[in-house]
């Protein structure tokens, strides 16, 4: 439930949930501001969910509409699943930020603007014919005009910094103000500043002064009549940290290498939004992790297949366009049956598309984007924290079934964050597998009767010298074979091996009754919006349930049974109906899709209204 800010009154007001959006020029430090507020709210114990939204350009022209960067955080005293449909508070650092974000602020919402930035030049850049601060167009909102640049400059005036340097700290003034407004401690941010700028005392001092000046402004001026409190959430007991999906994935893969007792090898080529995983793993040298920044996407996966051949737990990562380049090598990994995890952090396409914006439209690409029948398992995490467990799951399947596995994340999961209960690594399951060692029994394509996996014989093992490759191999011996019956058999083996995984993964779980009018079926990052929508619909007395697929190939064994428990099945996707196509083709169930491809996650309201519309048709 989203609480709006009530009538302003004296003192302190208790709120259940607040959503703030910081918006400014991409040079204004909005991502940093948002991240600092997030850390503080997380450490305070709120449940949180965040949505960074930034342009692909590193620095679009200052003050321009394409250059606006935003960061939305929702924090709550209850469990929440999304970063909030619409902000309660919008902080707009310039006219362009106001123009691109005001449409999302509900009437009555609080708008804090840096009035210093509303110069004629900036108004022109944002294509405002008249100054919105004076033309009455903001009358539906509670507007707080604050000369942030001026006030901040005054607080820093004796530090001997240039006006440009001073201006770079004004985001911390806004952050300080938000800290006061929501009763947050400045300590975590001050500690961060000291750590980050310790070597540059003037810069550290400037940021701390800006932060404190913003806080003091809230405290001492009459402009806000009250401030607000959002109590800590009642999360299950445990030790928590804030985590993004990419951070959780990197930790998951590192953990998997420990659980498998194998060297971790990561071959990658820089691409948004997957690169952060490379950066993080490159820092784990003390774990013996080997990261390899390749000359291109193909070399990245090639090196990883080479490392897997040598016995490493090997990964490669990219986003949609890079996955397209890796396609042929993924087929090779299918053919030679070596373990490999291919990470696809999806973004809006086709082609280069909108590199920093969200989409989940690579599902059919990873399912079928290879020559011939070339099956491989596909897993998809549902939330930022879930990226940890699904990373381990992807490795488990790759090792146990000797197969490439696709781990399908997306930009929203990768950069969004939530509190995460830190696991004790000693409680996590062993996922190790053995290499072949016995020359008497070793046959390169002699399959395990249960898993149909072939043995993993790594170079260096005496007596197991053998040859593998992309040419079709004879069953058992692995010699090159053009025999028609052998090829047919091997195609069936490859298919059956992946299909058989269905019995080795958790059944599809239903949130709500197992029978009803409507099942909303989702996958990937739509989890939060669907779950929140279903909670609302159930609270309204509707017979609606939610099921979320984390395994997309194969589907869990009970999937058809779950779907048949409902009169209608609705599949919301940030694509034009890809899971929908698979479900309809596989089960001949008349599911309907709900597709929104705007580069943004679904809102809860969109899913609620679509569900109501669909149930209205039946009524």
């Amino acid at each position: 439930m989203t609480a709006t800010i009530p009538e302003l009154g004296p003192d302190i007001e208790e709120l259940e949930r607040v959503t703030i959006r910081f918006a400014g020029d991409s040079g204004d430090g909005m991502q940093l501001t948002g991240t600092q507020f997030t850390r503080t709210a997380a450490v305070f114990g709120n449940d949180i969910s965040t949505l960074p939204d930034f342009p692909a350009e590193i620095r679009a022209p200052a003050g321009s509409l394409p250059g606006v960067s935003g960061f939305q955080i929702s924090f709550s005293s209850n469990e929440i699943h999304t970063p909030g449909d619409r902000p309660d508070v919008l902080v707009a650092m310039n006219p362009a930020a106001l123009k691109t974000n005001i449409g999302d602020l509900p009437a009555g919402g609080a708008l804090i603007v840096n009035s210093d930035a509303f110069t004629q030049q900036n108004l022109n850049k944002a294509a405002y014919a008249a100054n919105p601060l004076t033309d009455g167009s903001l009358s539906p909102y509670t507007v707080f005009e604050i000369p942030i640049s001026t006030l901040n400059a005054r607080a820093l005036e004796d530090l001997g910094m240039t006006s440009k340097q001073v201006d770079l700290t004004k985001n911390f003034f806004a952050l300080g103000l938000m800290f006061w407004l929501y009763e947050r401690s400045m300590e975590p941010t001050i500690a961060w500043v000291d750590d980050k700028f310790g070597a540059r005392p003037v810069v550290a001092e400037a940021n701390k002064r800006a932060l404190k000046a913003g806080y003091a402004f809230g405290e001492t001026t009459e402009i806000f009549h009250t401030h607000y409190r959002v109590a800590p959430a009642h999360l299950p007991p445990g030790t928590y940290r804030n985590i993004t999906g990419n951070e959780a994935a990197a930790l998951g893969f590192l953990t998997a290498s420990k659980l498998a007792a194998r060297q971790l090898f990561y071959g990658s080529y820089p691409i948004t939004p997957a690169s952060d995983i490379l950066h993080q793993l490159a820092g784990y040298k003390t774990f013996g992790v080997k990261t390899f920044q390749a000359e291109d996407e193909i070399a990245a996966i090639g090196a990883s297949i080479g490392a897997a051949y040598g016995g490493a737990l090997a990964l490669t990562a990219s986003s949609g366009p890079g996955i397209a380049l890796k396609t042929e090598a993924m087929g090779l990994a299918v053919m030679v049956e070596l373990p490999l995890v291919v990470i696809d952090v999806q973004r809006a396409g086709p082609s280069t598309g909108m590199p920093t914006k969200n989409e989940q439209a690579d599902l059919l690409q990873v399912m079928f984007g290879r020559n011939s029948d070339s099956p491989l398992p596909v897993v998809a995490p549902a939330t930022p924290g879930d990226c940890f467990g699904m990373a381990i799951e992807a490795c488990r399947l790759a090792l146990k079934y000797m197969t490439p596995v696709v781990y399908l994340s997306d930009a929203f999961l990768a950069t969004g964050s939530e509190p995460w209960s830190v696991p004790d690594p000693s409680t996590l399951p062993d996922i190790s597998v053995s290499n072949a060692t016995d020359p008497a029994t070793f046959r390169p394509y002699q399959r395990d009767p249960d898993t149909l996996a072939r043995p993993w014989a790594v170079p260096g093992t005496k007596g197991l010298e053998h040859r593998i490759g992309g040419l079709e191999k004879a069953d058992i011996t692995g010699n090159v074979s053009y025999d028609p019956d052998n090829h047919h058999k091997m195609q069936l083996y490859r298919q059956a091996k992946i299909a058989g995984i269905a019995t080795d993964i958790p059944p599809l779980d239903v949130y709500g009754p197992e029978r009803g009018d409507l099942l909303i079926l989702g996958w990937g990052s739509t989890y939060g919006a669907i779950r929140s929508a279903v909670e609302r619909l159930q609270a309204d007395g509707k017979a609606v349930s939610h099921a979320h697929l984390r395994h997309l190939n194969p589907f869990p064994a009970n999937t058809e049974q779950v779907l048949r428990g409902f009169r209608r099945v609705l599949i919301p996707e940030v694509n034009l109906g890809q899971l929908l196509m698979l479900i309809r083709a596989r089960y001949l169930i008349d599911a309907v899709g709900y597709d929104r491809v705007r580069g943004k996650p679904f809102t809860i309201a969109e899913i609620v209204s679509e569900a109501e519309r669909l149930m209205g048709e039946d009524a």
Partner: protein, 352 residues
């Protein structure tokens, strides 16, 4: 200047027995399926012959190939082998060697595989000095796809895909390798078996990227690819056998040589116009700068005798060594990674 070959890597006691291996130990049970008369047979035979000399156990040797006729070679070697996809063998070799520095890794490729579809990977594996031995079979034609022009085909070459002659300028493979900072660059010929053996042996012993171009005949689609200067009757007059520290002399009568004139090489005859052996260029494969090697890589028949042998062999830290060193340094400085600590991150809070 000396001509000694760098010493062989020391043998462990366990490996000492391996010296007893012979060519036969490296012959796999697979039937060789190249066209009769193909130059690849000779390259395979010389490769099998030199293998016992390296002192590696058979199971620690891996042959990785791409696509093309050359790509079949790993099937015929009784070692570990991986026949990969077109042009990408160097990438798999890079990953394998990074994960497993203990292995001896050979990359078998062709002119199309290495210089067309896989050109990028050859360049980058060389500049990283990945410790691999890349043997490029150069027959100036696409053989497996039955006779199209390759990146080393002559300008104007008529093939199935270029019926009026190729309009593409050919690539000079050794120049590419040198430009990519390869630390070992050499050339040999399929039919010059002794020279080929010696060259493969030098490549195998070099720590770092070795790039060996083997001029190879395709008797079906490009017969006589290099005949003009490799045939027995003419080779001494038309090829220059490079030897470190020796003057560049060639010819049946050992009376012709290469002299530097300004920035250009020229062919001279000893004894004519007052030219003596002292005027000739002396080969230096270990020169730190690549100028001499680059000059040799540009010399080609009919303007010059074609240089064969080692153009360049310089020491440089290898890719796998540098990776291992970074890990060792990080562990020496901060100790082995603590997973529980990394999972907690910099800030946590506790819910009771």
């Amino acid at each position: 200047m000396t001509t000694e070959i760098p010493p062989q890597p020391p043998l462990s006691p366990e490996n000492a027995a391996i010296i007893q291996l012979t060519r036969k130990d490296f012959v796999s049970d697979q039937e060789v399926r190249w066209c009769p008369g193909c130059g690849d047979y000779s390259i395979l035979a010389q490769t099998q012959k030199v293998m016992p000399d390296f002192g590696y156990p058979r199971e620690n040797i891996v042959f990785i190939s791409g696509i093309g006729c050359s790509g079949r070679l790993p099937y015929y070697m009784n070692t570990y082998g991986f026949h990969t996809i077109h042009g990408r063998a160097p990438t798999l070799a890079t990953g394998l060697k990074a994960a497993r520095p203990d292995l001896m890794v050979w990359v078998i490729t062709g002119d199309g595989d290495a210089l067309s579809i896989g050109g990028n990977h050859v360049i980058h594996s060389m500049r990283r000095n990945v410790d691999i031995n890349l043997i490029m079979f150069n027959n100036r034609i696409y053989g497996l796809t039955k006779g199209q022009a390759s990146p080393t085909s002559e300008f104007g070459k008529k093939t199935k895909s270029t019926p009026l002659g190729s309009v593409d300028t050919p690539i000079m493979p050794l120049t590419i390798a040198l430009a990519a900072e390869a630390s070992f660059v050499a050339r040999s010929v399929d039919t010059h078996t002794e020279h080929l053996q010696g060259t493969l042996e030098r490549a195998g012993r070099h720590k770092g990227s070795s790039f060996v171009e083997v001029l190879q005949n395709c008797n079906i689609f490009n017969d006589g690819a290099w005949r003009d200067f490799t045939d027995r009757e003419v080779r001494e007059d038309r090829m220059l056998v490079l030897e470190h520290g020796k003057p560049m002399i060639f010819g049946k009568d050992r009376d012709r040589g290469i002299r530097l004139r300004g920035l250009h090489p020229e062919v001279v005859t000893i004894g004519e116009d007052g030219v003596t052996e002292a005027d000739l260029l002396v080969h230096d494969e270990r020169a730190e700068d690549p100028y001499l090697a680059l000059m040799l890589s540009r010399m080609f028949w009919p303007d010059f005798p074609v240089p064969v042998g080692v153009l360049r062999a310089v020491p440089r830290p290898t890719h796998d060594q540098l990776i291992e060193e970074q890990i060792a340094t990080a562990i020496a400085r901060s100790g082995e990674g603590d997973l529980a600590r990394v999972l907690r991150g910099s800030e946590t809070w506790t819910v009771e």
